[in-house]
Subunit: 598 residues, 2 copies
Amino acid sequence: MAHTPASHRDDALTVEARSDAQPGGWARLRRYLPILRWLPAYRREHLPGDFIAGMVLGVMAVPQSMAYALLANLPPQVGLYATLAPLLVYAVFGTSRTLSIGPVALVSLLTGTMIAQLAPPQSAQAMQLALLAALVVGVAQVALGAMRMGFVVNFLSHPVLSGFTSAAAVVIALSQVKNLFGIELPGSASPLADLGHVIARLPETNWVSLGMGVAAIVVIIFFHRRLGRALVHLGVSEFVAAQVARSGGLVVVLIGTLLTWLLRLDQTAQLRTVGHVPAGLPPFTMPVFDPSSLGAMAPVLVMLVVIGYVESVSIAKSFASRRREKIDADQELIALGMADVAASFTGGSPVSGSFSRSAVNFASGAATQLSSVFAAAVIAVALIFFTPMFYFLPETVLAASIVAAVLNLPDFETARQAWRYSKADLLTLVITLVGVLFVGVESGLLIGVASSLAVHLWVTSRPHVTIIGRVEDTETYKSVKRHKVKTCPHVTALRIDESLYFATAKVLEDTLIGVAVDNPALKYIVLDCSAVNRIDLSALTTLETVDNELRTMGVTLVLSAVKGPIHDSLLRAGFVARFGQDRIYLSTHEAMKALECT
Amino acid sequence: MAHTPASHRDDALTVEARSDAQPGGWARLRRYLPILRWLPAYRREHLPGDFIAGMVLGVMAVPQSMAYALLANLPPQVGLYATLAPLLVYAVFGTSRTLSIGPVALVSLLTGTMIAQLAPPQSAQAMQLALLAALVVGVAQVALGAMRMGFVVNFLSHPVLSGFTSAAAVVIALSQVKNLFGIELPGSASPLADLGHVIARLPETNWVSLGMGVAAIVVIIFFHRRLGRALVHLGVSEFVAAQVARSGGLVVVLIGTLLTWLLRLDQTAQLRTVGHVPAGLPPFTMPVFDPSSLGAMAPVLVMLVVIGYVESVSIAKSFASRRREKIDADQELIALGMADVAASFTGGSPVSGSFSRSAVNFASGAATQLSSVFAAAVIAVALIFFTPMFYFLPETVLAASIVAAVLNLPDFETARQAWRYSKADLLTLVITLVGVLFVGVESGLLIGVASSLAVHLWVTSRPHVTIIGRVEDTETYKSVKRHKVKTCPHVTALRIDESLYFATAKVLEDTLIGVAVDNPALKYIVLDCSAVNRIDLSALTTLETVDNELRTMGVTLVLSAVKGPIHDSLLRAGFVARFGQDRIYLSTHEAMKALECT
């Protein structure tokens, strides 16, 4: 019965304290600039792996980043610009050794949605909006990271993320249908509206575009799913086979460009190509502040901050855990934010970690972020020397590579688990999915997050309450319905499986009064508080009211297993003095012993 | 270790089941028409009490309801109409024997806010809006009651209600300043803007109006706070003294009206009076549906549904508990809804339970709802015979009675308790208060509710985690920081004081990995789940990931005291099979015994 008053904080494990430790001077610099940790300790044996991985990553990133620029309603070179500087900046600030930063599907989709509402696609104005978005998102992420607010992403539940990703894959694929069919639309509206327009204009289909696009999708999938395994069967090494399997995107780009150039398909078949891409390194750009656009952009910006980070940090974590490396979630926010800021000053657009490119980087043997530096060099070379080659790169091929990439996104496994494990989780998944598909990418995600919070509150507001009794000769008390337990007529021991807060206060009242009314012989109610993690003011008020009501009914309320921190608060509020310390027991067993019911 | 699979529902106390019981036929009719319970059993000895209480209640309700009509930007007779039929209807459907229904301060304030945005005050259009509001609110309440959705009000926490009530008192008092000063404003904007206009026009003050208003406030307060006690000291009976103490409002109405009539103050001093009030019983009115207004009214309507009900049912409960009577929360929704519907068809406005009038009814000896029927008769008599007397009733006197009434509303006690007990609760109280005062009555309440939910989620997302050990020779395990307990180096027992859901999944991961990293000698972690009331899919995924990570670190994770319903879900999802039933123990003591740490 001895509750030693001690502060909540003292008692808490130092999980937060540990990450809150503020190292000084050089240590602090090393904390914020992880490159100071890995570069001085760089071992020569890592160089070949980093070099090969960097080359492969760079070659893969060139067409992919142009494709995602297209998805973001931006000119193709913006994708390249958004890859170069961010790769270098992340190498300095990032804590992951293999994460590859740049334009990715979800972030480009969000950027594209925002641009479609405010500017003509691929216009100078669209580019300005992208710069501004990258700056604001980057600054916000750096600020959140510096304030150690990385935890806010904890509020994005697994089912919400799963529903969002699956629906986004569908939205992204739909958005590329017009490019595959080679149909020019007046302006980009919602993906579903776009699809409607495409269907209405099906007779205008460019069959060369469609044929080349479908062929490209088939080739990429064939490379990815079959060719690698076939080569291994034929005796090719696993490493080479994996590189080949991932090169489908590059192969279709080369073949598509070659075919278009040789047959002049851009003129003979009106095939839309990437066209003129300015040669040279990324320009220095100044984002222009425009308060009226910023207001309209706000919801998407919030989402870019959160989704970009969640995607990036999850990918970083998943690869780090395979090599037992550690990711610092707050430093990752800073690193991603700096990469976004870098993109905004070099003609880019918002970025995030790319799963496919990080996987290639990892599989190709990258040991440190030096591979990103090599990849950046590849992109620089492409920008300086190879932009004329992009002239004949067909847009349908880029669309095909986007479609092939997002085919892996839909997540049926989480839905299946939710179906079996928890219908509440399934509900939030479905709400998010339907919201993103039919209401909109940003609103859908917000609806999903709100629904996951609402479902959690709803579940906690209807707590499980059970009468408990002693299990055999132990001091363990369990549900009378589930276990063979001892009880007595003059005492009812109750366990409420939820914190006592405003939403559960009424259940508490109804339960205690109900038990007293239903058992006229009852003298004592023992309320087992082992599952009560919080008692808020509403519940405390209810508890005092109910205690008075029970008293007039001749029933004495007794509390057991009250947690230390809660006991401290009750003490501070004077509740313990009013209620009586002698009615608060350390354990249910002690209470039952005292009430002669053991 | 034997977890008998049993459904969650089986195990639950039948709190919900009890109120879900559906009686058939006559019993069901008696359930929905409580008058069938009390009227056939009416005892003659109750008649004098009911009669006197009804007379007192009726006489008090006449000026009060006109004052609240003024607050609601409606003509005075609407207040009388909104009292008559609702009193009768509540007598049929209500489960409280003493609750008095009609126009009240908060509901009239909300109605007035809504009308101010959509129609000129006291206009025919304003009356139409009030009818429509009463109908929609009433139908919604009846529907919610029939669906047993009374529990939704559980989400209005005590601090939010307290902050709302205090702020609303200020808003109501401010709204009456112009009437006290006798200043005519162009149109009603926000209360603060109104106050600004009044200050700007202070030179136009009608000193007769101000003098009479202030005098009326002083008289009412004197009657209420001093006269009663003084009379008791002089030997007058408690009952009579209490009646006199509450008659201040009536006295100032009579004196004010008399003075105005005798001195023709309406002409000699331009004193604004109630003016012409149509004689006769309430008219039959048809609310007109107007979709465009309904859209603009929607937020206020939601609030009227909720606030009207919360106020009504709390008052009903507080008086019922003094006499050990029972209030059925769902039937109360139906009764209040029917009263609102009745108001909408008889020229009224939205209603709720009145604390002051219910208190008078209770104190004057009402034993059943028959007193409400007598009170309704008094109002009918007033409407038929006495409306010409209201012509000279000064508005400043009605304003004074509103101000005097709301002076009791501000709730400092809850703020003081919150300050001592829980800063989180204090925060939501202050947010609600500031929101209502500076953002608006409806938005402020919404902000308050949202903040209380956010605070709760925030608190639960940062759970208390502690290492536990065995207390002496008991089977109780408590925090190592707070109690003298036994521990061993190869086992760490941890208790996490929160459900495992998406917002706490990361804490779970960080804690378990952190403990393993910090203790190289560690072989086992026992996770005491006695405070875990829910494991959602996000947390389950994290648990499996962490278990794999711990395994590769040579640490075995063991669960103890998993609650029955959660164990069932884990079993269903296949987690128990994958994790191993032999790693799940009935209690922490059993786990520690098995791991040889006791």
